[in-house]
Symmetry: C2
Subunit: 455 residues, 2 copies
Amino acid sequence: SESDREAHSGTQSSHRLLAYSDALISIIATVMILPVAHTKMENNEELRESVQLLLTTKIAVYLMTFLIVTVAWAAHIRLFQVIVRIDDCLALLNLACMMLITFLPYTFSLMAAFPENILGLLLFCGCVMVMGVIQSVIVLYAFSRPFLLNEQIQISENQNFYKHHILKVIMRVPLMCFFASIFSFIFFQLSYVLLAVVIFLPYISQSLKWCRSKAIGQVPESPDSTLFYTYLPNEPLSKDRVEAFSDGVYAIVATLLILDICEDNVPDPIVVQKQFGGSLIAALQVYGPEYLAYFGSFATVGLLWFVHHSLFLHVTKTTRFMGLLNTFSLAFVGGLPLAYQLTHEFPADSRNELEAIQISCVIIFFAGIFQLTIWVVALYNERETLHPYVRYGGCEHIFMLAKLSLYPCVALGTFFLTCILSKFSAAIFHLMEITVPFAFIVLRLLVRVGRASLR
Amino acid sequence: SESDREAHSGTQSSHRLLAYSDALISIIATVMILPVAHTKMENNEELRESVQLLLTTKIAVYLMTFLIVTVAWAAHIRLFQVIVRIDDCLALLNLACMMLITFLPYTFSLMAAFPENILGLLLFCGCVMVMGVIQSVIVLYAFSRPFLLNEQIQISENQNFYKHHILKVIMRVPLMCFFASIFSFIFFQLSYVLLAVVIFLPYISQSLKWCRSKAIGQVPESPDSTLFYTYLPNEPLSKDRVEAFSDGVYAIVATLLILDICEDNVPDPIVVQKQFGGSLIAALQVYGPEYLAYFGSFATVGLLWFVHHSLFLHVTKTTRFMGLLNTFSLAFVGGLPLAYQLTHEFPADSRNELEAIQISCVIIFFAGIFQLTIWVVALYNERETLHPYVRYGGCEHIFMLAKLSLYPCVALGTFFLTCILSKFSAAIFHLMEITVPFAFIVLRLLVRVGRASLR
């Protein structure tokens, strides 16, 4: 049987290794929002200024980390779509890779703090080069034991062609990093440009290609459908892993919220005794806005997960381009702890409070709109990527559209409300967030009634 | 087809909902180590005293949270072994449950900070009672749509019996909490006792029953094998979910380490200019021990995951008792960020440093020994729970024993070394941690050579 054969050859299904890698990578990508959220903001200062100060360093570090880590994650997916079975040796090599990936955020922190110093850059390039070497070792090892490989390659006659193609693609980025680290001694600004190009090249070329193909109407099909590492926007991306990665991001965001509550909102017994005459309830009432903000934010994260879950339930195949849009959506979801911090940090009825709500609305709007875009992109190629029920004319089509557009609409509406109503407050905003789940149930009823009346 | 039927009835596979719940619960269980690890310890103070101060409150909060959350998680598994399909309504109810679970750590923080005040206790009981109500609603809803249920129950004739049995079990804990909250107004110490009993009752009765059955040699078999919610130690516990939960804990622990590095070990540009003459390398050399501690701790977490992975690869069925042992192992794994903080916090060659290493050894020893115990327990019933290759006399038996006993042996050996050698330092300890992966490869070679020489 399958499991007998496995135990005998010492190989294992790679399922759990990949799940663990997804969990690690999603957490490391998201957790860098904490240094952003923990930045103390002065109340007397204008929010706009302090946010601009933040934007220049910490938010940049967060976004860079998120994008780089997801690029590394996409490379990891591609690698393990070729290598489908593992053994102890590959598991250990993969752990070494993970260790280097988790170290990347630190190199960004150094680059952001000391942009003129090349040490951060060198450390980053060093990490990437070592990762490239480890990945090459993984590929060479796997091709020396072909039973570890994808069945398509296993039965193929020119395994050597695949090996060289994959190695060439894998070593491209480390090689660029090697040049960047050499350039850094001569003219370090160029190295940063080189790095940015390296990192975003697949994304940029992908977007351009996609736009061109849509404009001309002619889709450049890969001649050999078994070719991996094509970097085409419709190259498949393991759906399981996209889901696992997204779950990790949503879970860590929801958890970071309560961590802040537990660390900051347990009053000091001495303060309670002195200021509140020993009444714990009176002392906790001060934290009322925090609790409301917590429940509101949790509801938003949970519901965004729910929408994501509903969408991917009907997606039958994930492409690289959908994965890219999903990454953008998740990068905004990862910003929610910052929104949570901002909305309860400022005194009620201040200009800062309104701006904090507007920032929250922007974050939620983009998180939702990118989810909607995933569906729209999927509809362009609906025969391959979508379940019949959510295609044009499918019975769930309208309901899916309603689900996906609920959050962007609510966020946009709230944004304009804050511009019109000066009395709008964080408390109202969080109460709105808590009532959205009920909107989903109302939505379902409305769609059902609407469909029944149409018949 | 399967997916057509799903879309038509609006039901969905519960797989991803459970994966998300596992991720959330594992992170919330582990993340409460952060307040413990972030406690600043004075260098001139004796470590023993400060650790004792920690032990009384923060470590207690961490352990209580970990245990309670895993009890809630076990209840969640049991519930979704009965309900195997979900729809939108169940997904939203489950999210509400998750929100309450993530709020539990805060009630413990309150209880620990204000043990004399009943507010924390009341909040906790309130959360548990609301969760009980939500779970009952979930059960009633699922039984009103039997296609959501487990097939065994779906075809059974007395569904009502199951419904009442499950509701009775679910409402047991909330009812006890109700009494505890009433008692708290009269004599609050009793309420704490009542809560402790409620929480540990299944564990205690389980351990007692298991010891008795082993002593007498007669295993009390459940008369009806389809009966769920038996609380017998050999009641099956979904293996997928035990793995997903463990992966979450290992992933978050590995990530918390780098988070500390990124938050604390990026030097201030002004300090670098003034104290180190603008040399970033000189400034970073101060953090040398931190980097070493990071790589050592990451290697330990990664390898403990690797051992766990190897073990569960050969486990064919997980029981409640194995789940309990796994929880204990994970609770110690969750303590590793504390060990990491301690080992690099104290000056070299101090008594504190040696004690910090000893604490790390104790944590690693227990994390490893509980993993070994899982295997030993599985061996007692090897026909049901283990793959033939790791049973007595199986070809992987010795290698598995070597893998599982490596960490306990290394930790024990290091502990005794710190007692004998006064020159032992944190640097040596972390270097040892980094070399352990190579020990795994040597181990594999040794076992192979040993087996070959025996033939």
